[in-house]
């Protein structure tokens, strides 16, 4: 008995002292954070990840999800910065992580995190009512070239955020000048699709997965969606490239650790997420939500973020919405 204790005790002590670096990481429950309320894209994504990780047995410790809404994700960013050395915090983000910094909402940026992996992408789609006079993207562009303010464009996010920028990017690439004059109307209360169906809006810019029910019933048409190449299950809808405007806009979602997350923990999560994206369970979850696979490992993800950040910066500055850096 004593003998056992003699070996066990140091092992236990060591286990506690090096919990982050030892092979048995993670030994404590994780703290998964959705930086917004229940029911949104961030919340759905991180809950799906937690479920797949525990169903497949890739992660053995509990991964309860906390919702930390506020500041468009900025409140959680501040929290993560406060606990910069934590090895248990993993949070989900998407393009607003860059946008809240560029628009001056928070001085913190993606540089105050450790990108672990980019997992999925949703794409922006531009939809019109079935009986709209706009038959294709080109009709809209022509109307905008004549008068940039003549088409009302609704979106589910605030001005200067994703739905706005996606449309601006396409319009700009198609040769519409004066993008500042585009008539973008934000519907953060979630009523935008009803407004489109009721004929109060000309075009709706939003994630394509939000539109699937109406697409199926034929109440709306999607002029194009912003994927780099056609996505399975979206047959019959042109990508914006196919519609003649060479623009991609990824509404990516990825996971992030804190800025100074211990090396071993970063490695563990990069490896684990790399394994997770290859499982059938993850493929099923993606199929159910209509998410496209867009996995990138941490370091490449960081490069991608740098590049996106520059692109957004350009657009926001043209819209006059870039904060003084």
């Amino acid at each position: 008995m004593l003998k056992v204790a003699k070996y066990l005790l140091p092992a236990l002590v060591a286990g506690f002292a090096f919990s982050a670096s030892a092979a048995d990481y993670p030994s404590r429950p994780m703290e998964f954070i959705a930086p917004a309320g229940a029911g949104g894209g961030w919340d759905t994504t991180i809950r799906a990840v937690a479920k797949v990780l525990s169903d497949t047995g890739l992660v053995k410790v509990p991964m309860p999800v906390t919702n930390k809404p506020g500041g468009g994700g900025g409140v959680n960013l501040a929290y993560m910065t406060q606990k910069a050395k934590s090895d248990t915090i993993v949070s989900v983000y998407s393009p607003p992580l860059l946008l809240i910094n560029l628009s001056g909402t928070t001085p913190l940026s993606y540089k105050n995190t450790t990108p672990l992996a980019r997992l999925i992408s949703d794409y922006e789609a531009f939809a019109v009512k079935a009986d709209s006079p706009y038959k294709d993207l080109n009709d809209v562009i022509e109307a905008l070239k004549k008068d940039p303010g003549s088409v009302s464009i609704g979106g589910t996010s605030a001005a200067g955020s994703m739905d706005h920028l996606a449309f601006v990017q396409v319009a700009k690439a198609a040769g519409v000048n004066d993008i500042k004059k585009l008539n973008y109307i934000s519907y953060q209360d979630g009523s935008s699709l009803a407004q489109l169906l009721g004929g109060h809006l000309d075009i709706l810019s939003t994630g394509i997965t939000e539109l699937l029910g109406q697409l199926k019933s034929g109440d709306i048409r999607v002029l194009c969606y912003t994927a780099p190449k056609p996505v399975a299950g979206r047959e019959g809808i042109p990508t914006c490239r196919e519609a003649g405007v060479p623009v991609d806009f990824l509404n990516w979602r990825g996971l992030f650790g804190t800025e100074k997350m211990p090396e071993a923990a970063v490695k563990y999560w990069r490896d684990t997420l790399g394994k997770m994206v290859q499982t059938k369970e993850w493929a099923d979850a993606r199929a159910q939500y209509g998410w496209d696979d867009s996995y990138l490992d941490g370091p490449e993800f960081e490069k991608f973020l740098e590049q996106s950040n520059e692109e957004y910066k350009g657009m926001l500055s043209e819209l006059g919405m870039l904060a003084a850096q």
Binding site: G37, A38, G39, G40, D43, T44, R47, A48, K51, T66, N67, K68, P69, G70, G71, G72, G74, V75, A78, S103, T105, T106, G149, S152, S157, A158, A159, G160, S161, N183, I185, S186, Y187, Q188, D189, G190, S191, L193, A194, Q195, L197, G198, G199, H200, L201, T209, E210, L212, G213, Q214, K216, S217, D219, A285, Q288, Y289, G290, M321
Partner: protein, 501 residues
């Protein structure tokens, strides 16, 4: 017609399997408890229980989630009646007369009528859902920004006019509420307003902070003044039921407010707070004894409870028939449906009749079960009134803080909470009603954005506000509400003066 009834009968065969019956009961019980706790709304409840629903299959999962939802609507007003601490926005109107009733020693009647009105309102909602879901959904689409704005104006004026003879005080309260609603990021321009650099304020102040500050905190602050402590500890309790006379008076208000509540529920974004407040003000306008409202008038409790539950059923319509989640709860439910491989939207009724009709039948079953759970539960809860103040008030305070912390997992919200508690005390002292403030704080942002959206779409032409029959009717109703008190006082003068001579 026959086809609908056949479908419904089919729905009952699905819903009444022992398994699904168990799920809806479970959901109802959990929902009732969640609804009673301030800060924990049905959205959080459904989200937390989401993983549990995966193994139930789509129908079972949806029925469980709806059970939680119905239960929360039943439970929400319990704390309003007993402690003056509403669990969510929809339960605020239950404080107006529910709490005075409890203080007058009529807690049993209050709890009973609240459950009964909720039950009937829910049933009426379910009946409308069965026969008119698709038509109602199409009608709701006619609400553009201009119509929304007219609806908000109507709701605000109706609530402000609650303070009869004191319309000015009501409007002052409304104006202050509107000011609070401008805090946060302005979606149309992406500019921060009145956030003073606090990230936490960017999303605006959660209206629960205002509500809990104005009700729970004010209640506790007031009792700190030894002169005003008049709370009687009730030790004897009767059965949870109502008298025939009370039933006779409440029946009509319950029946007529349910359809209105239902319609408000169908409009994305409007929600239970508006439904219950409008029901309350409608009944006060219609009442022969409006001065009794706010002092423990049972009709003033029955009407909003009925409207609120009908509203919660109406809110399912845009999600199920159009694939548009109009509230936090329905957004979570829609996420769950997607996870289960279903696509909510116009085709859901054709593709998955079993789920749709099973769910519809569960509205009837769920409401019955929630009523059955709630009546005996109420006889337990009512005993909270026998707790002496020195124990009760600190507990209310604890519950209030816990609820606020639960909203966003942050202690920041405590500061505005305390501030609103103090403001509530000042308003109480000045005899300014707080309900217009609360409604304005909730709908103000929507009203403002819809005003600006309408102008943005029309290119600045004000005609956009009166170019539809819906708007015109709403404005006419608003004018009637404003003129009604004047007319009544005019008539009172002209009828009483001659008789005095």
């Amino acid at each position: 017609m026959i086809e609908i009834l056949q479908n419904l009968a089919y729905g009952f065969t699905i819903c009444l399997t022992p398994e699904n019956l168990l799920y809806v009961t479970l959901g109802g019980a959990v929902g009732t408890v969640i609804g009673m706790l301030p800060g924990l709304g049905p959205a959080t409840g459904v989200a937390v229980l989401l993983p549990m629903t995966y193994f139930m299959g789509p129908t079972g999962a949806l029925i469980t989630m709806c059970g939680i939802y119905y239960g929360a609507m039943f439970g929400g007003s319990r704390a309003s009646i007993l402690l003056n601490t509403p669990g969510d926005g929809a339960a605020v109107a239950a404080c107006f007369d529910g709490y005075p009733m409890a203080r007058n020693g009529k807690a049993e009647s209050a709890l009973a009528i609240s459950a009964i009105a909720s039950f009937i309102g829910g049933l009426i909602g379910a009946v409308i859902f069965v026969f008119a879901a698709v038509y109602v959904a199409r009608f709701a689409l006619r609400f553009g920004p201009g119509e929304y704005f007219a609806l908000m104006i109507f709701a605000l004026v109706a609530t402000a006019s609650l303070s009869r003879g004191n319309l000015l005080r009501g409007l002052v309260s409304t104006a202050m509420g509107l000011m609070v609603s401008t805090i946060g990021l302005d979606g149309l321009t992406g500019v921060d307003r009145y956030t003073f650099g606090f990230l936490e304020l960017m999303g605006g102040l959660d209206f629960l902070i205002v509500i809990i500050g104005f009700y729970a905190l004010v209640e506790v602050y007031k009792c700190a003044n030894p002169k005003t402590v008049t709370r009687q500890v009730q030790t004897k309790f009767g059965p949870i039921w109502i008298t025939k006379e009370e039933w006779r008076r409440c029946l009509m208000p319950i029946l007529r407010q349910a359809p209105i509540g239902f319609l408000i529920g169908v409009l994305p974004g409007a929600g239970g707070t508006m439904a219950s407040m409008m029901a309350y003000s409608n009944e006060k306008q219609l009442s022969k004894t409006p001065e009794a409202f706010g002092k423990g008038e049972i009709v003033g409790l029955a009407a909003p409870e009925s409207a609120n539950n009908a509203c919660s059923i109406g809110a399912l319509i845009p999600m199920l028939t159009l694939g548009i989640p109009g509230s936090g709860v329905t957004a979570v439910m829609m996420g769950a449906l997607l996870m289960l491989g279903l696509q909510p939207g116009p085709t859901l009724f054709q593709d998955h009749p079993d789920i749709v009709w099973g769910l519809t039948a569960s509205m009837f079953v769920g409401n019955i079960i929630c009523a059955i759970i709630n009546l005996p539960l109420a006889s337990l809860l009512v005993r909270v009134l026998s707790v002496p103040g020195r124990i009760l008030y600190p507990s209310v305070l604890g519950l209030a803080y816990l609820g606020i912390y639960a909203i966003s997992d942050s202690a920041f919200d405590f500061y505005p909470l305390i501030l609103f508690g103090l403001l509530g005390l000042v308003l109480d002292f000045l005899d300014i009603p707080t309900s217009p403030f609360i409604l304005a704080a909730i709908v103000g942002n929507m009203m403002e954005t819809n005003f600006r959206r309408a102008l943005k779409m029309s290119g600045g032409d004000m005609g956009v506000f009166v170019n539809s029959s819906i708007s015109i009717v709403l404005y006419l109703l608003t004018i009637i509400i404003l003129l009604l008190p004047l007319y009544r006082s005019w008539r009172a003068r002209h009828t009483t003066v001659p008789s005095a001579v």
